[in-house]
């Protein structure tokens, strides 16, 4: 048995038609084909899904917790970005 760890894969499952794929967890597998089969066994044993995506965890570029303030905080005081900020004049049927 190889002592080299198998690559990590992130798993996304679509619970039902019409819903989007949601991240459910990760697993180790030597390649994509086996990752998909492992995902079937690990994450859809109880009929949780109708479709599975797997992607190499190494291929995901993620935001860093250190960048949290610069990334997300500036949005906090810009209430005008929400549609509810604007009053809709009476009589406007289609906006």
């Amino acid at each position: 048995m190889s002592t080299q760890p198998e690559p990590l894969w992130e798993v996304f499952v679509r619970p039902r038609r019409g819903l989007s794929h949601t991240h459910v967890g990760s697993l180790h597998a030597p390649d994509a084909t086996i990752a998909l089969r492992h995902a079937r066994d690990l994450y859809t044993r109880r009929q949780e899904g109708v479709s599975i995506w797997v992607t190499p965890a190494a291929q995901i570029t993620a935001s860093s917790p250190d960048e949290k303030d610069a990334f997300f905080e500036p949005a906090a005081d810009k209430v005008y970005r929400h549609p509810t900020f604007y009053d809709v004049p009476d009589g406007v049927a289609h906006l």
Binding site: M1, L27, T33, I34, R37, H38, D41, L42
Partner: protein, 271 residues
């Protein structure tokens, strides 16, 4: 054909189907917590549970098909005499090895991971084709069980296929181990397709599958996988067999001893 011979034939046949699944499930269950990785551990346990699930349905039906003890047959398995009603547990846990009807391929020890995967390939291809045909059985209950089991077997075959290709066409080490597994297991595949004269009535009635009729389609499934895995089918004239008649390797009795010990120590135990 009398009603008695057909009932006996049905009982025997259901045990053959059920024992193949039960013994395969028990062997795969031995990997639990010992597989090459956590993911594979769960995969093998899933397959084991599918097999045990199919075995339960088949043995339950067998128990209902024969209200009394197993009749003796000249060249058949040892008769099984049970004082009390039959059910799936009695059939699974109180029969001895000479009363089991599984093919010997199912009972051979797991060996290494390559052995386990190659055995699963050879056996699940056979089970899938058999269930595919039985899904159209004249016996509605067999057809129902097979209709459920064929989907599970298709996944077992898929799992074994992707691993066989990766192991066979992998490193020098994995190729050597997988070829050794194929060399060791291949002779036992002859038994899968051995004609069974006892099945003639059931086959004619459209209830059972004539084993030799599955060979061609089985070869068409298995050989391309072996070729893609760069494995060579061994040239061998040795053809062990006899499991359907209760003739087994020494390994089955050890398997049964472990599987049956709890039930025999505590009859009727449940949780």
């Amino acid at each position: 054909m009398t009603a008695t011979t057909q009932a006996t034939g049905l009982f025997d046949y259901l045990l053959a189907l059920g024992d193949d699944a039960l013994v395969t499930g028990q062997r795969l269950g031995e990997w639990y917590a010992s597989a090459p990785g956590m993911e594979e551990d769960i995969a093998l346990a899933n397959i084991a549970l599918d097999q045990v699930g199919a075995a339960r349905l088949l043995l339950s039906y067998a128990a209902e098909a024969s209200a009394t003890a197993m009749p003796a047959r000249a060249d058949g398995p040892l008769p099984f005499v049970h004082d009390g009603p039959l059910d799936e547990d009695v059939l699974a846990y109180l029969r001895d090895d000479r009363q089991y009807r599984n093919v010997q391929l199912a009972e051979l020890p797991n060996g290494d991971f390559a052995h386990t995967i190659v055995r699963l390939l050879l056996l699940s291809a056979y089970q899938k084709l058999r269930y595919d045909t039985l899904a159209g059985s004249a016996d509605a209950r067999i057809a129902g069980i097979a209709g459920k089991a064929r989907k599970e077997s298709a996944y077992h075959l898929d799992h074994a296929t992707v691993w066989t290709v990766r192991l066979g066409d992998g490193t020098d080490e994995s190729h050597a181990r997988t070829q050794a597994a194929l060399d060791a297991l291949w002779p036992y595949t002859t038994e899968l397709f051995a004609p069974d004269p006892q099945l003639a009535d059931l086959t004619e009635a459209g209830v059972a599958v004539d084993p030799p009729s599955l060979r061609e389609s089985w070869t068409a499934v298995v050989e391309p996988v072996l070729a893609e895995a760069t494995l060579t089918v061994p040239d061998t004239a040795w053809t062990p067999g006899g499991g359907r008649r209760g003739m087994h390797t020494e390994h089955l009795s050890f398997l049964l001893a472990e599987m049956q010990s709890l039930y025999r120590a505590h009859p009727g135990a449940s949780w």
